[in-house]
Homo-oligomer: 154 residues x 2
Amino acid sequence: MNAKGRYRTKHREEILLFAKQMQGKHLTANDVCRYFLEKGEKIGIATVYRQLENMVEEGVLHKYVLDAGTPACFEYAEQPSEHEMCVHCKCTSCGKLIHLHCGEVAALGGHITQAHGFQLDTARTVLYGTCAECKQVAPIKGEKKDDHVVCKKT
Amino acid sequence: MNAKGRYRTKHREEILLFAKQMQGKHLTANDVCRYFLEKGEKIGIATVYRQLENMVEEGVLHKYVLDAGTPACFEYAEQPSEHEMCVHCKCTSCGKLIHLHCGEVAALGGHITQAHGFQLDTARTVLYGTCAECKQVAPIKGEKKDDHVVCKKT
DNA sequence: TTGCGTGCAAAGGTTTTGCATGGCA
DNA sequence: TGCCATGCAAAACCTTTGCACGCAA
C-alpha cells in the first residue's frame, strides 16, 4: 500500500507501465481499455477512469481537456527541469498536439507569478493556435478574420 | 442575410446582445436559456447551441472548455490591440477565471511563432494554475509536489 | 479481517441530430 | 419560393456512481 492508502494492484501497475511506454504521447481512457484488450485481458472502463483519476491526483499523470465532447487526454508526468518546462500546443485546424520544450514559457510563468500573482502550471496548460503546416494552407488570407478552421476530432 | 448566409433572426440578435452585455464575463448555453426565461420568452437549448456555434465560427464569440463534463464557456470576442492581448487564467483550486491583459503574453506568442512556427491564439487559450488567494491557503508546502488541489465545479 | 479495487449497469450531464414547422429574404 | 432557423424529443457521448463481490495488506 502506498502513501495515499492505495493498493498495488495488477491493473494499476499495467496502466502505469502503459502510460510510461507512451511517455510524450497522450492517451485516453479508451486507449487504456484497448491496450488491455490487445493483450487478451479486459478491464472495465470505470476502473480505468478511477485509476487515471487517482494517478492525476498523485501527480503521476497529467490530464488535459482539449475540446468539449472529446475524451480527456492523460499523459505520463515527466519531471522537467525548471529551465525547460513542457507545454502543449494544440492546432485548432488539424488537431495536432505539439510538445514544446521552451524556456520562454517558463519565463512567462515567472512573470505572471510576480506581476499578477497567478502561479502558472504549464503541465496542465494547453496553448491553442495554428501549426506551421496549417498556416501555409490557411484559408483565404487577408479577407476575413476568422481564420480558425473549426475542426472536430480527426 | 449576412456574409455566411445566415438569417438575422430575433433569437440571434438577442443572444448577441446578451453576449455583448456580458462582455468580459463568460456565459454558458444554460445562461442564455435562463436569460430568455427571465425575459418571459423561451428558447430551445438546441437553438442556443446552434447559434453559439455559428457565432464561434464567425469569430464573434470565443469558446472555452474548462473541464470535462463542465459546460463550455462562451465569451464575446473583443478585438484587443496587438500590445494588450487578453488571456484567461483559470485557478485549478477555486475555479476562478481571471482575465489578464499582459504584453508579456503577446511577446511569448511572438517567440513561439518565430522559433516554433506555431501561431498562438491567445483568445482561445486558457492558462491553468493557482491564483494568489489559493496560493496562500495552499496545502502543506514543501512536502509533496502535487499541490494541485483537484477541485470540481464550484 | 479491513478496506480498497473491480465490474457491471445505470445514471448524470452536456452537446448533437432528425424531422416537421415557422420565419427571413 | 427557397433556405435557414426553431422546437421538441431522442440520441450520442464521455464520465461518474451504486452496489455486490474480489483481492491486497
